[in-house]
Subunit: 362 residues, 2 copies
């Protein structure tokens, strides 16, 4: 059952997914690819990352309509040697390219213990955690890295020179949720700022500076366009986050023969390829120890980590991915709240594509 | 030529290295292992990281004398399958174990494109960058991770539950210094705090909290002993640095079948094994593209990154490892300044072991 609210909508995960599949198929995405893409977006949304999920559905569809993304994702195998590989996505859908690359990395890890597969010339992959988590059912650790447009200033600099360049690492456990780290190397993910902007909220000092080096408080001033004139997001923890961001770019764009820095584009304009690069890795646990033993070690590790004295008003220590797991359980049961701009965008998309909307949305 | 100063000493890199070799050989370390260990410590010191180099020489020697480290480093191959491997250091010297593990990772990367080799039951490796940089002459990217004793509180917690768990990534360039990221996942490396303590300086708020959650300003209050009663270092950037630290521990101690958290020890007491675990990885660039092409891409990437408008009083943008490279050049030419406690410890060590001291030191 779904219900509507004044400011947005409440939808069921499976219905959101079916809608996304309908939308992508309608604009020429092959059914298997539409399923992968929809699945990645719904998982991000279930885990509380709608800014990298539901919010992107209409954007990605419009990129296909406007020629900025090739709906067929014609993957080309550029390298395929033992434990490594490289795919050229030829401007296809990032979710599809990253999923196939991770599947290859998993197959390589099964044979060689580890697999490392890159992607270049792709559009954005959305939420990095989805691809890292693909390794989990295969008794493997998954790792996913992606570069992105320059939005982040180097320490001491006033020109955006590196991306928020997120990465994710996923590790299975036994009776506990899998550990899933998924972090931007800037103080804040760019897509998350768009939510502050949509809500008309201010952002804390220390997240971004303008072209004069002064703190930005209005998230609408944080944009790729504004940053062309100077300023940008600040790296996580100064030079350390900057160094991490640089290394993610080196291991993706530079290493995979793809674009980097000004060679990359944002979603807008919708007729422009983004040209992102990724690296996907899988490491086989069973090459090191029996899987069951590993799971028990993880459970113990998690138990001890959580067994900490707490600051006042803190209810528990959360491991990476634990809040996301809880949110996923809750949203699978009670539905996914969509904020007003996302709900509106999906209603308009249903109308534009002349496809059935989502129950609870219209 | 070497000179002394009132507060410390100025020594030449080669003489510091020869001294370290003499000291390690005197306490039973095989010549080849003594050479590796000394080389790792001198490189760290040249790069401005004497807290992970020259300062540790006397400590590591005393650990051997007191039975806390096996001078023979009897490495056992636990796993060796295609692209992955695992060594048990049987309480040997971390520098030796990590070097051999990286050499195996390099050999595996030459064959499979990537190599990933773990170490367990080792003593500390000192400076992570040394091992990542071993991959550079082989036209590879190098990666090194290590866990360490719990010194860092989780966000919201008052019990040290994860280590400063540093990692390093090294990438070659053509006419520019190789990029070398080497970062602790806490706001500050623990060894660096020891320098503040030795100098009687206070530390900034935001680096550590005491057992009540209040900021610590006296670095002498930051110790493994004190943290047993509560408090600890703060993770880099809150939950992100905590997540990174957790993942480094998972990919080393948990994954490699080694110790983690309270199973680990610090250098002191000197008769106790530290039981650190490492992961060393190498990725072959030539499996992806011609090496020369990669180097030119790196130079371009570095050039564009540095080409940023600057804040007032900033002279240039530094890439990871660039300051360390400059310091290394300068110190190779002009000598290495040793602070007073380190100089004193080395003088005492020469006397204790009855070996020739370093010119400029005594």
């Amino acid at each position: 059952m779904t219900t509507t609210s004044k400011h947005g909508a409440l939808v069921q995960a499976e219905e959101l997914k079916s809608f996304a599949i309908r939308a992508f198929e309608k604009v020429g995405v092959p059914p298997k690819h539409a399923e992968i893409t929809a699945d990645s977006m719904v998982l991000a949304t279930l885990r509380g990352e709608g800014d990298h999920g539901s919010r992107l559905i209409a954007i990605w569809v419009h990129k296909i309509i406007n020629g900025g993304t090739n709906p067929l994702t014609p993957l080309e195998v550029v390298q395929d040697k033992a434990a490594i590989g490289l795919l050229d996505a030829h401007n296809g859908i990032g979710a599809v390219a990253a999923t196939y690359a991770m599947e290859r990395a998993i197959a390589k890890a099964r044979e060689h213990g580890i697999g490392w597969v890159g992607v270049r010339n792709s559009n954005s992959l959305g939420s990095a955690k989805y691809y890292a988590m693909l390794a989990l059912p295969h008794k493997m650790v998954g790792i996913a890295l992606t570069n992105g447009v320059p939005l982040v200033v180097p320490p001491g600099g006033l020109t955006a020179r590196t991306g928020t360049n997120p990465f994710s690492i996923a590790v299975p456990a036994k009776s506990r949720p899998a550990l899933v780290l998924d972090m931007a190397t800037a103080t804040i993910a760019y897509e998350r700022l768009r939510i502050y902007a949509a809500r008309g909220e201010t952002i804390p000092k220390g997240w971004a500076i303008n072209r004069d080096g002064a703190p930005v408080e209005d998230p609408r001033e944080v944009s790729e366009d504004a940053f062309r004139k100077g300023g940008g997001l600040l790296p996580l923890g100064g030079y350390k986050g900057f160094g991490l961001s640089v290394m993610v770019n080196v291991l993706t764009g530079v290493f995979m023969g793809g674009a980097y820095m000004d060679g990359l584009s944002e979603f807008a304009p919708h007729n422009t390829p983004e040209r992102d690069s990724f690296a996907l890795a899988a490491i086989s646990i069973e090459h090191f120890m029996p899987y069951e033993e590993f799971l028990e070690r993880m459970d113990d590790f998690i138990r001890v980590t959580k067994d900490s004295k707490l600051l006042p008003d803190v209810d528990q220590i959360y491991l990476p991915g634990e809040r996301g797991f809880q949110r996923e359980q809750e949203r699978r049961k009670n539905g996914i709240p969509l904020d007003w701009p996302t709900a509106e965008a999906l209603r308009a998309l249903a109308s534009e594509l002349a496809i059935p909307s989502i129950p609870g949305l219209s």
